[in-house]
């Protein structure tokens, strides 16, 4: 295995969406993960912004294409159009503002209505650094996540706390789903030709693409 990998040399490309109320810190979670940057004054997101980062999951290189969406309620109808083909989602709320947690249920409902049932969802309580302002107890969020069958993590984009872990966990779980799918496909007598598009579920969207690398056997 070569030590160097080009930016576009990856085994899987996964589309993730970042959703949640306006001002919960979605864009900063993303810039922390993708560029290790944090900026309190970064502009509000209009429509959607993109970032990518490749990480190693098990023995594969996984490239995450992350769609960072606008949070304001008025744009929700449009935001749902961005969900198409997403295999993972980070649903973010602000631990210092309870109302953003209350809205999680609606976000979840919309997300599930527009994506495949196999989508990997993580509930993310951001701004955990604002300890003196905490409005959403960890236990409350945890219980909700268990009930809704999603992953859960508290993060701080400001302090770079758990950001890496949250994204990595989601990507790892997606990889597991995909591997299982590939395995299931392998049992199929017709099989799935190597390098073919692997669908995590949805009918005709390209959800996860397995690339035929130059070094793949």
């Amino acid at each position: 295995m070569a030590a160097y990998r080009a930016d576009d040399d990856y085994d899987y490309l996964f589309k993730l969406v970042l959703i949640g109320d306006s001002g919960v810190g979605k864009s900063n979670l993303l810039s922390r993960f993708a560029k290790n940057e944090f900026n309190l004054e970064s502009k509000s997101t209009i429509g959607v912004e993109f970032a990518t980062r490749s990480i190693r999951v098990d023995d594969k290189i996984v490239k995450a294409q992350i769609w960072d969406t606008a949070g304001q309620e008025r744009y929700r109808a449009i935001t749902s159009a961005y969900y198409r083909g997403a295999v993972g989602a980070l649903l973010v709320y602000d631990t210092s503002r309870h109302v953003t947690f209350e809205n999680v249920e609606r976000w979840l409902k919309e997300l599930r209505a527009h994506t495949d049932s196999n989508i990997v969802i993580m509930l993310v309580g951001n701004k955990a650094d604002l300890r003196h302002l905490r409005a959403v107890p960890t236990e409350e969020a945890k219980a909700f996540a268990e009930k809704e069958n999603t992953y859960f993590m508290e993060t701080s984009a400001l302090e770079a706390l758990n950001v890496e872990t949250a994204f990595t966990e989601v990507l790892t779980q997606i990889h597991h789903v995909v591997s299982r799918k590939a395995l299931d496909a392998g049992d199929d007598p017709l099989g799935l030709p190597k390098g073919q598009t692997i669908n995590v579920g949805s009918k005709d969207d390209v959800s996860a693409v397995k690339k035929v690398g130059c070094c793949s056997a």
């Binding site: 001002g23 004054e41 502009k43 509000s44 429509g47 959607v48 912004e49 008025r74 159009a81």
Partner: protein
Amino acid sequence: MQNMIVRTFMCVKVLKTGNLFKVKKKGEKEESSFYDMEAYFHCYFFENKLLKHLEFQIPAAMLEMEAQDLSDDADYAAASQEGMLSSKKSSFSDLENAEIVYLKEKVTINPTQYAADRISGKLKLIKQDSSLFMTWMPYKSRISNARLSERDKSLYTIKPVSFTDIQSIRVHTPKIGWQYAVVILSSGLAYPPLYFYNGGVQEFLATIKQHVYIVRSSENTNLFHINNFEDPLQFDKISLVWGKPRQSPLQLEEWGMFLDAEGRVVSPSDLKKRIFYGGVDHSLRKEIWKFLLGFYAYDSTYTQRRYLSTIKKSEYETLKNEWQSISISTEQSIKETQFKETKFLIDKDVVRTDRMLPFYEGDENENVNILRDILMTYSFYNFEIGYCQGMNDFLSPILYVMEDESEAFWCFVYLMERFGPNFKHDQSGMKFQFFALSKLMEILDKPLHDYFEENNCLNYLFCFRWILVQFKREFEYEEIMRLWEILWTHYPSEHLHLYICIAILKTHRIKIMGELMDFDTLFKYINELSCHIDLDSVLSYSEALCMSAGKNGAAAIPPGTPPVVA
């Protein structure tokens, strides 16, 4: 002011006096006046049954560019017959080096429905050096009682025209009936149909093919492109064809010439046109933006404007006090929740609005507080729309230019009258614009439109940010001020921003279609164009597209599509 003959064409003569076009039809004593040449040509030629199969699209800018001072059309006719009037783009002066590669006798033009009026002539293709030219010369009449005089006939003469100036040739070769060919120039002008009563259209085309690059249109088998703009490989050429040269910004001295002694703008349309082609110097923005946005009336005087500013200032203070008193009182308002939510959103957004700019940077920046106060006041002033993300983007340059809270507020109010529908809860304003965009694309680039359709991209969501905040996130601050003042002139269309969308997409069509981009890839690609768009070339291109779409373009945009113009 002197009359200037802009063009003598078919049976009309186009004169220009200042900004006014006059058109004199053959046989009519009265001249008709038109400000909008394009509109004129459309209505005239489409009404004229004889010419109903011709398609005319004449950009006014083009007419002016080609304006020639021809004082007398008799002289003009004589000159053109002798080939003395050479086109600007091609020079055809020395016939001695020329070789006639095609000659067809009895090629005929039908100026009227009467067979007796037919004018027969000689069609030639002439090769000079590496260029190909076409000419058609009428025969001298042998019939004395012809309805058309010799002079009339000579008006139809096709002086040697270079094939570099010819855009396409449309041929009709029916099994029954006469064959004819229509030669369409790059400018969009077309010569009258040339009837080949003895056949020979195919031979004519075959000869052309030997000397210039000619391709049959994929959409219309009767159409042959000479300068094939439909071909993606040659596509960039179209931007060279149209679009008037951009000018330097309007300066103080020139601005003074637009005003009368009391400060009224003498000709708002001239002013708007001037601003369209070059924008205004930054020092003039504070004053001129107020006109463009409708805060100042163009026919107002200095005194009236000073008075207006004073009363509007106190009106603003009253509005501002309304919501400020709510926050002081002990939260009894029914609107309390909404107020708190709005305030939270605005507080959150103003601290992330253009903070890289010195004007807004740093802690405790007073301008950031002013942004907040204006947005809060507006959310009360227009309770139905309230506050929505993106409004801060609209307000930022306005406050930066006005440097005055009350004036910035009122200018913002006027701007929101135009673009408020972008922020409606049902997103109807945005939907209208997406719809119009799709229709315009269908007119201006059918293959790209079809590509979007096949790839489920017809919702044009990838243009969402462009449209919502009028490209605010796509250009540098100085450029966005320039672009906005240009868009606010509403010249040549109040919907020019939609043509800008088309222009940008068309500029990247080769890549989009060549790389078979799907919705996600396209979306990402479009997003990443931010700050990599050349403003001037996009403006020229969108101007050309707007001209070329003409009335069809305007008709494709549903009424009520933002900007809503009162």
